[in-house]
């Protein structure tokens, strides 16, 4: 793996933290080199790509972006980098500040989610019901945010970077609820439900949803909830 591959988005062969990055590329019609690692290929990451990329970026991890001679890692930095490249971080200082806060808030939501998803099966089964209660704190915050700001998306009437990650988290949780035979999380949150639907109908997102990468599992094989696509 060298940096002469052209514009690259690299991650495990799952949706995980890369889904919003891939969505942003599809949404902006930007071709990208989709580099993925499966569990069987993890040596390609740990033994080959990672040591090489460490020399250019000591923080290197998955996901990473290669763009010319740049090597960007840390998913919120990758999101903000693509946002800068695609002009999706906000068209005014106000939008940028909103987008920035939403990016961080969604990451809090994700950290809580993967905290559950990657627990051992025993712990997962013990914690999942409490999780489904606690996660509503995040739903409440985003529902209220949309109510207060009165925009179609989190920062504006058009999507900005944070919307891609929020959509992914909401979408994963709909799948999660279904797999647990629980009712949809969105049913009690009309603003979020509308947000989720509206976002999914964007032509660029429809295009994304027909790609192979959109049908990856949500999480890695080590997770207690892998989030396999519906058959």
């Amino acid at each position: 793996m060298t940096t002469t591959q052209g514009f690259t988005v690299a991650y495990w062969q799952i949706r995980g933290l890369a889904a919003p990055l891939r969505m942003m590329c599809e949404y902006t019609n930007t071709p990208y080199n989709n580099v993925t690692y499966t569990p069987a290929e993890s040596h390609k990451w740990f033994k080959e790509a990672k040591p090489q990329l460490l020399e250019k970026n000591p923080l290197i991890n998955l996901p990473y972006i290669l763009d010319g001679d740049k090597v960007i890692t840390q998913s919120n930095s990758c999101l903000e980098y693509l946002g800068r490249k695609f002009n999706l971080n906000g068209n005014s200082e106000e939008e940028q500040l909103k987008n920035n806060q939403c990016l961080n808030q969604v990451m809090d939501m994700r950290n809580a989610a993967v905290g559950l998803f990657y627990k051992s099966e025993q712990e997962f089964n013990i914690e999942k019901d409490k999780y489904c209660q606690n996660v509503l704190n995040h739903y409440n915050k985003f529902e209220k945010w949309l109510e207060v700001n009165k925009t179609n998306y989190l920062s504006a009437n058009e999507p900005r970077t944070a919307d891609f990650h929020l959509f992914e988290m909401l979408d994963q949780h709909e799948r999660f609820a279904k797999d647990l035979s629980k009712p949809s999380f969105l049913e009690k949150y009309p603003n979020l439900k509308q947000f989720h639907h509206r976002f999914s109908q964007l032509p660029g997102i429809q295009k994304y949803s027909n790609t192979e990468v959109a049908r990856y599992n949500c999480n890695n094989t080590s997770a207690s909830w892998q989030g396999k696509p519906s058959q």
Binding site: L54, P58, Q74, N100, Q101, Q105, W145, E147
Partner: protein, 224 residues
Amino acid sequence: MVLGYWKIRGLAAAIRMVCAYGKIELREVYYTTDTQNDWFSTEKPKMEEQNAFANLPYLLDGETTISQSNSCLWYLGKKLNLNGDNDEEYFKNNQCLNQVYDWRNQAVQYWYSPPEKFEAKDKYFQDVLTHYNKFESWLKLHKTNYLSANEPKTADFHVWEMLDQHERFAKDCSRPSILDSKFPLLKQYYLHFRQLPTLQTYFSSPAFSFDINYIFASWVGKSS
């Protein structure tokens, strides 16, 4: 500019340091176990009408309410031109901000864990070295005095804070300094930052002597 947070160092220390460094006059609202009901029952619901993510820490700047500590740092960084002088510095700073936030999440998860989990100190002191290795290698690669440039940017304030909290933690656990073990660049970085003239007032202020964590933590980090 108003900063609201618990009366601890926690997530606010970096914000306080940035304001001191940038000579921003900061009025602070401190929350304690005595006043936390004011926050949860009255102030937070009211603030949510302006900013639905209202949480501690928050910044109030005129009509603007900012929540999420990395966003507070970003906002101050914009105001004080401390986010990086060009795209390259900006994304170095940005990645370091996110990396140190990962470190902090792991640290607080450990420090606030119940006694049975907290006792696994050897494992924590081993695992935490991943972050030290990353930042040491980063300084070695970039050869700058600070993480993104030869002057501090916003991420430096949080990285320094985490280094300082961990020096204190090692001391409280009667273990040797982590910096002294094999991180010469980080040690140099840590000492230089501590000597910054514009921060000396902060280092002499009560806020620098606040407990590091909240009273419910397994390690509170009480001031010496």
